[in-house]
Structures are given as C-alpha cells and as structure tokens.
Symmetry: C2
Subunit: 87 residues, 2 copies
C-alpha cells in the first residue's frame, strides 16, 4: 500500500447556471477589473489516500465524488493522482 | 491584447483549522472509505482575462485574489495562466 496525493476538481457543469460565478464576475467589474469573462467557481478537494496502485486510488476517488464530493446533477469532476509517498 | 485563461486556486492556509475539510474526512470515513487523510477543501476559480501579456494577466489575477477571491487572513492562493486564445 502506498499513500497517494489526490486532487479532485469539482466544477459547475457547462451550460448550467452558475450564480456564484456570475456574482464574482459582477464584483470584479465593480472593483474596476476590466476584460474579465467566463468566471466559474468550483471546489478543489485535496486528500491523501492509501491504495495499492494509482489506478485503485483513482477508482476510490471517483467513488468518493459520486457519493459525496460532487453533485451529480449540476457538477462535473476530475480526479488527478499527483504522487505516491512511501509505503 | 490577448485573452488568457486564468486558474486561481484558493486553499486553507496550512496550520489553520479547516472545518470543511474535517467534515468531509468524517463523512468519507462514515461512507466506508478507509485510508483517507489530510482532507482539505478549497476553491477553484477559472476566468478568462484580456491582458497585454501573461505577466499582466498574472498581476491582475493576484490583485483580484487580494481584493476579492481569497481571505488574506486564512487562505493562500496560487495563480496559473493556462493559455492565450486569439487577440
């Protein structure tokens, strides 16, 4: 078993209303930032995970997204296995 | 002027209590995921930005973090300029 550093990116699904992104875009414009567009706010979940292989770590992380980390109706997720650290 | 794709990662500062990370770690354990540790939940802000150069885009993004996107007391941020698209 190795420890894997896992990064999960959860983002609003393309085409679904993103009120938080719209709010941030409006606030940035109010603060004087010009030329800003397509603002989206998602979540970045990092964790360490003990698994037998990078593939097992990725499978576990995808299961975590399906069961807890992402809203399957409105969000997309992307799992990245960054590194293994020791045994 | 070019359009740059900017990715801002906002994460809880190391050593500061991260209640959302702790809650997610507890929920993952309750769901039966073993070997999970060091769970942290941050924000991932993506936007497109019109700027004269990648350096200008990065400077603007850092200013956005200081003024709006990150809490300077409890959070760290990291700005990545991903690509330029057209003029």
């Amino acid at each position: 078993m190795s420890d894997f550093q896992v990064e999960v990116r959860v983002v609003p699904r393309e085409g679904i209303l993103d009120p938080q992104g719209k709010a941030v875009a409006g606030a940035l414009k109010s603060l004087g930032f010009a030329g800003v567009d397509h603002v989206h706010v998602g979540r970045l979940v990092t964790l360490s995970l003990s698994a037998a292989s990078p593939e097992d770590a990725a499978d576990a992380a995808v299961a975590m997204c399906r069961q807890l980390l992402a809203n399957p109706v409105t969000e997309d997720f992307d799992v990245r296995i960054l590194e293994a650290a020791g045994s």
